[in-house]
Symmetry: C2
Subunit: 161 residues, 2 copies
């Protein structure tokens, strides 16, 4: 395989990243939920008050994978952490260690920045991914369930309906 | 009950908030995991590059509850969201709607700021909390499990051990 480079996303990458997000959503059978536009990603990643960060993996100059993350916070540790929201490798580049390389890069960033932890989520049926995650020593937080309010339910609750 | 006020945390609240964090950890049977110091909370909440935000609930001028949150990001929506990391109400003030009032306040902040979603997590055995969450229309993301790398496992993976 040609040389693999992992770099921070730069303005101009938002189109490639949106393409990856759509491919990932298709794999998760959630493509109809993707309403993000390139301008949304540009704002979130590159404008002042940005809330998200992304790494891009290139092989021979072609972008083949990305990892988008943000910072969370552990009240118990009193320190921030890294939460990897999306990790995606183009199908034809899977099985070459690119996903693990991205996780390794982010773990290094977490350690460098004195983060308390590095976290992400997996769909329970995505066994190939889960095998990679447990293989590198990550622990599933099986006792916890995330609750979400969005769309109409969020607006109804906020407005007292 | 005396008047209930929900306000943003201000410098000086870090001691009260740390006390709440320790009480919450005790309830979750995780007190030994709390290593946060007041200075850590001060930095995270009030210094430049702060990553966390907190609301404080007062009853008759006494702080009785808090909700600490940060922003996450939905790649599908292309918009930020609010993640409530900790919600705690002192035992003697429970059952009075204070937890729900905090959730309602945060839902309002999420809507005002055009957030895609408002999320938090619950321990699977905390049925009283889960009943409140489903009662206000929140959906449990039962298909997803969070994976965590921290402590020695994080350092070992980052350093290639």
């Amino acid at each position: 395989m040609e040389a693999v480079t992992i770099r921070e996303a730069v303005p101009g990458d938002e189109g490639v990243i949106l393409g990856f997000i759509r491919e990932l959503a298709e794999y998760e059978k959630l493509l109809e939920d993707v309403v993000a536009k390139e301008a949304d990603l540009y704002a979130a990643l590159f404008e002042e008050d940005s809330v998200a960060y992304s790494l891009v993996v290139e092989v021979g100059g072609q972008a083949v994978a990305f990892g988008l993350y943000f910072y969370n916070f552990s009240t118990f540790a009193g320190r921030k952490g890294i939460y990897l929201e999306d990790l995606y490798v183009k199908p034809e580049f899977r099985g070459k260690g690119i996903g693990s390389a991205l996780l390794w890069k982010l773990a290094g960033i977490a350690v460098e920045q004195d983060c308390a932890r590095f976290e992400w989520s997996a769909l329970d049926w995505n066994q190939p991914a889960i095998d990679v995650y447990t293989g590198i020593g990550a622990k599933p937080l099986e006792e916890w369930t995330v609750f979400r309010l969005d769309g109409e339910a969020l607006h109804n609750f906020a407005s007292g309906k």
